[in-house]
Subunit: 273 residues, 4 copies
């Protein structure tokens, strides 16, 4: 679309209307992570070609709640925070492509349109949901601290049904915030064909990760997790066989683009390398 401005739709003469501005996109927020093991074949069935199951601990899953404030390089969204704050919950597994291990988001729910659009760009399969997670605060009258004994709840709902809930009680600092979401992401970006019954018009496998990352100490503790069924969701197809751990961490992140790993052509997937 030459002669138009705007990173995303709607593109216009000025670009002012674009639902999202160009990267870099910056984020400050709190992550509550629950890692567990499910049946590896249930992870495998979520990995389309050309991806394969990760070799180590292939049934590991991370369910992550995030409470974000975000902005573009103008930082103007921070002064009109309806455009800046959002919450999300997402499910991450690992996979392999050409011998390299990647993380991959298989389900994700957000509560703002700009987050939906950023996810579409990055290959996150976003839906709308209602997510809540306990916030730490310096004054404990109605808040935990990020410290031993701090108790954090987190809930996820979509379509007026609760899908998941967790309670994490912090015990001690941890050298890490979990391992399932620790690799670059390998995501598909797909546009279904416009003609009835046609194949995808576009399909690409991309990788991306933070261009910069800062974080406070990670905390771990005891965690309880419940998943619920819904006719429109499949989170319950990743049942909890064994809880690995629960983690809490405050982070600052910048995202500034990704790279194509492979594209789908007439002869199947072609590596971009």
């Amino acid at each position: 679309m030459n002669n138009m401005e705007g990173f995303f739709f709607p593109r216009t003469a000025t670009g002012q209307s674009s639902l999202i501005p160009s990267p870099p996109w910056s984020y400050s927020g709190d992550l509550l992570t629950v890692e567990y093991r499910t049946d590896p074949e249930r992870v495998a069935e979520l990995l389309p070609e050309p991806l394969e199951l990760a070799q180590e601990d292939p049934g590991a899953v991370a369910l992550i709640w995030a409470d974000w404030q975000s902005c573009s390089s103008s930082r103007e969204e921070l002064l009109d925070p309806v455009r800046s704050q959002y919450k999300e919950a997402f499910v991450v597994v690992r996979c392999a492509f050409e011998g390299v291990t990647y993380s991959r988001c298989v389900y994700i729910w957000v509560d703002k349109d700009f987050a939906f659009a950023r996810g579409m760009h990055q290959g996150y399969p976003k839906k709308f949901g209602s997510m809540w997670q306990t916030r730490p605060h310096p004054f404990g009258q109605a808040a935990p601290q990020v410290a031993a004994g701090g108790v954090f709840g987190a809930t996820l709902a979509a379509g007026d049904r609760r899908l998941a809930q967790a309670v994490l009680t912090l015990r001690e600092e941890s050298p890490h915030n979990g391992f399932v979401n620790g690799h670059p992401m390998a995501h598909h970006r797909v546009y279904p064909g416009i003609a009835k019954g046609s194949p995808d018009a576009y399909a690409e496998l991309i990788s991306s990760g933070a261009s910069s990352f800062e974080a406070g100490p990670a905390w771990t503790g005891d965690v309880e997790l419940e998943l619920f069924e819904s006719p429109t969701e499949e989170l319950h197809r990743l049942p909890v066989r064994e809880v690995i751990g629960g983690y809490y961490r405050q982070v600052g992140v910048v995202w500034d683009g990704g790279a194509t790993l492979a594209t789908a052509g007439a002869a199947g997937w072609e590596s971009a390398r």
Copy 2:
């Protein structure tokens, strides 16, 4: 994405999670349309290549509110209506491609994720908004009828700012429901490139329209329309120079796919014909 089910993301082994099912998509709803003339150069600046300004009445704009119930061919969404009902407001202009006149949605706001995703597929540049329109009802204690003297209000807001409001007083039946939204749609479907600063990874011009359409009598009447400024919107760049008319109509529609008009390649736009 072979070996996966689901029309849209997230694709899975069963397809149950897909944010939207395959077309056909069916709709029953009420349309409140306001047509007016703006400066044709403001319409022109919203038409990317390879589109051109329509020859007749090139400054005509339709601002349309719609109160929808929708479903897939299973009709199961109708029994869980949080997945079926949504509201939208959209701005339509006309354009020309290869000598044929098309309608084109340049701005649109919806209030459900499934509507957002359907719009992405169809090339509607959807954002989230808050739309309200007066509903007719058989009992007039707190409702107009679709009849002479019926008064209908409609409002549009996004980002906690009101963007537009209209009041339509029905006067008489009309042979039509306006003309701006009366052609097949010509929409771009675009995927920005994943690498920082890269060109679009995919760009396509498609046309689509209803595969079947039923409607009650169209009504016309007197209409007042106000547009408001917002830092994230450009509706006010299509100022009202002259009101053409206001219309109300109840419709039933099926959408079942579109057709590629042109694709963007290395050498520019190539017609698909």
Copy 3:
């Protein structure tokens, strides 16, 4: 509060800010009713003094969904319908006071603040919820008609948990729309005392009903109803022992005040008669 204007808070010099205007309040809307029998002792435990269990069919319960458009006598809300449209679901039982049978709303959820405030005035124990019910429409592409074979779904959620869902398939016209909600309402209006641990500062038993009422034909049919548990709700304490029937009806109603039945004084309840 002399020298101030406004029916409800906030009261001001002009009254313009009042969350709700003075009655009469008018309503046009659609009612989907499910009636069933539960254990009469569970109804009895919801009836505070000076109310008693109804003599006939004391375990009868009505769960009613309503999709409303409402306005004051100025009708100005109809032109700014964010102030006019709301949805609700409510649970009604019957009771007796001084030998007369009354209906009584024991639980109710709405989705707008003006509806919450009207309920507080009328003694409806309102909370916020998310209610959806299938809408009839003249064009059946994605809608039933109010006619034999029409299928309507209805759902209720609060606190991001689903509380109830029903599916009603219309079979034939019915001479009535159910009987549980057919009496004047007997509701308590209570203001807890402001001092810690103090008794209620004010408590009154009132009756009220529509000052005028119009309705289309009532339809009945086959109905399925499911209730779900929640830590903040007690709907599941009224379990479905036997479904009585399901009904659908379009109505127009005016409410214009009620009457005091009894007030709580130092010596207990005193009848107002």
Copy 4:
């Protein structure tokens, strides 16, 4: 209502359904305050009998945004934070009763039903709104710190219209967080009569304040404030004649009941002292 449990409606056999539990109510949150002077007669017109205008600086107004997490003494809401987190914006003036200066909330908007009900109990004239305020975060990628140079935005909307917006740039610590909201509150608790046209069934003037209070350092800085008109609000009737200051402070508060100052009887207001 003897033989029933529950602090607020709906009262039941167990009390589990009560929209709010008994005090004490605890709060942890962040306050962004803008103080300004308006025309004193506009403050006076918001003070019903038996209140009078404060003697010093009678035109002072505080517009306060608050981002809260709250809970009852069980703290169970903190683990299901949809029941714990809410946002509000409120307008405070000062007044005098029997020679004592009080603060008084004249307008307030919240976004959760439990906050609405607590406000009704405390005499806050709550409506629903959409409030957003920039959050501080340890990592500054998309967040300010509570420190010199920190920039915080705050917005208020109701009925799909923006009512107010402010930007505060912190400069230095301040010995206080403003003075307008610094007194015990003097609020009316009113129940309109149920019979058409009848006087209030109940009216009481109460005072209340925090039973305990902790706070971090207060910060002050430069502030911009804009107020907008709305047909359902009167915030614009308190125009900004002179900005006094802007403040930011993190606090922890407990509320545990208030006291009656006066009650309205047949002969007018009677002091409770």
